[in-house]
């Protein structure tokens, strides 16, 4: 089990290999489909981003509503492939990591190598457990998007697994091959 703290540097990313179990602490940002579109539009138009994503991690999540007294509702990962078209631009900008579930496109895997980034998976469906590792949550941008607004999360020992590292390895491909008996 490796422990890392955000923001991420090239050195931290280079030390992560596909298959590693990792606990993340620090600040991470949420973002899904619509927020990604706006971020990439801003970068393409040379406009400032509402949050500085350099060295940061984006978590693909649409939490359930928080019960009174809770910082956030259950918050497991959503399917990552919907964000694939936007990801290379964000990695080129300086974003270092993503948390989601499911396979990424060849373009994203290539961009992880080129810009030294990492793709983690959190456990899909373990939303109640994951929410326990989120200590604070606040909307910091695009609040007009409602559940798709960008939130700043303070996390402690947030459990993930490295799927795609900066060396081109892919845990989904390799793991399946290792245990395949068909």
């Amino acid at each position: 089990m490796k422990r890392i703290t955000t923001p991420l540097t090239d050195e931290i990313v280079k030390d992560l290999k596909a298959g590693d179990s990792v606990l993340i602490s620090g600040i991470i940002y949420t973002g899904r489909d619509l927020a990604h579109k706006r971020l990439v539009d801003a970068i393409n138009n040379n406009q400032p981003l509402p949050v500085d994503l350099k060295g940061q991690i984006i978590y693909y999540v649409g939490p359930a509503p928080a019960k009174p007294g809770y910082p956030i509702g259950p918050a497991g990962p959503t399917t990552s492939e919907r964000m694939d078209p936007y990801t290379p631009t964000l990695l080129a900008y300086g974003m270092k990591g993503m948390i989601g579930k499911g396979n990424r496109s060849p373009e994203v895997i290539e961009a992880l190598k080129k810009y030294i980034g990492v793709y983690f998976a959190a456990v899909g469906g373990a939303a109640a457990l994951i929410a326990k590792r989120i200590k604070k949550a606040e909307v910091v941008a695009y609040d007009d998007l409602g559940p798709e607004a960008i939130m700043r999360l303070e996390v402690e020992d947030f459990p993930v697994v490295v799927v795609n590292d900066c060396y081109g390895n892919d845990l989904y491909e390799e793991g399946m091959k290792q245990y395949r008996r068909l």
Binding site: A66, G76, N103, Y179
Partner: protein, 280 residues
């Protein structure tokens, strides 16, 4: 005629929505524990441990096990001797869904139109299936269904010449193409027979069975076992990270069909297989 009050249906559906999302069935938790004994992948075992802990937290704090609290799918068995007073059945169910999802802090995931995509704000309307049965009881099952696994489901119109091999290849291929997306370990509902629309319903209904239950027809009990073994040879494993346990169960539902047809449907469910039943 036996009378059942509209408001009793509303309150029952609301309660079932919350309980189904927060209290994962003991059969699923037991299946996680058994899988933990079999799984060879260390990462896979770690995932299974997290899933067990997740169900414990959800139940203790009455918060949803998964943030995708789903489309509210409601199965109703309406006794022909039942009369509902003060309102209509479908209205009562939808009012119950709205109440359950709002008061229970469940996520509202339904848009009013598939292309214009405005959220309805209370997770209605439900998808409701009604069967008229004999007797004077009303049986309601709420089965919330997540989007990630539903997207990996498919209907195929096979013909008799495809035989069992054709069915088996289709089911295993569907699981292989789904990879990590439906949040494995999965449950696989398989409908065989009927016609185009009936077979999808059969596959969904199959998912209501308890893990560990044996198909009443020994022929299909054997087929379920065979499919489960094949699926668990894919190596997809918990969360798609590689491993022995890709599926926890395969359930088959069948129906008579046309001499020219052999429809097959695969409805994939994530490990958060949620359903709760009440009888009024």
């Amino acid at each position: 005629m036996r009378e059942i009050k509209y408001q009793d249906i509303v309150d029952t559906v609301a309660r079932l929505c919350v309980e189904a999302n927060c209290i994962i069935g003991e059969d699923i938790v037991e299946a996680f524990r058994k899988a933990l004994q079999i799984e060879e992948s260390p990462t896979g075992r770690e995932i299974l441990k997290q899933l067990i802990e997740n169900t414990e937290i959800a139940k203790k704090e009455m918060i949803p096990a998964c943030q995708d609290t789903g489309t509210a799918v409601v199965f109703v068995e309406l006794g022909s001797g039942v009369r509902i007073t003060d309102g209509e059945l479908f209205d009562a169910i939808n009012k119950g869904v709205a109440k359950g999802y709002t008061e229970g802090y469940l996520r509202k995931s339904i848009v009013a139109d598939p292309l214009r995509r405005k959220n309805t704000g209370d997770n209605t309307p439900a998808v409701i299936h009604v069967e008229i049965v004999s007797g004077d009881r009303l049986k309601i099952t709420v089965a919330p269904k997540g989007g990630g696994s539903e997207n990996m489901s498919e209907v195929k119109m096979l013909t008799p010449a495809h035989g069992w091999e054709g069915i088996k290849n289709f089911v295993v291929d569907r699981v292989l193409r789904s990879k990590a997306n439906p949040c494995p370990p999965i449950l696989v509902g398989v409908g065989i027979g009927g016609n185009f629309e009936k077979v999808a319903y059969l596959a969904k209904k199959a998912l209501l069975r308890e893990i560990g239950s044996v198909h009443p027809d020994p022929f299909y009990a054997e087929k379920e076992k065979e499919l489960l073994e094949e699926i668990n040879k894919t190596g997809i494993g918990p969360q798609g990270f590689g491993g022995r346990i890709t599926a926890l169960a395969v359930f088959i539902e069948t129906y008579p069909c046309h001499i020219a047809s052999m429809p097959v449907a695969v409805n994939i469910n994530c490990h958060a297989a949620r359903h709760k039943t009440a009888v009024l």
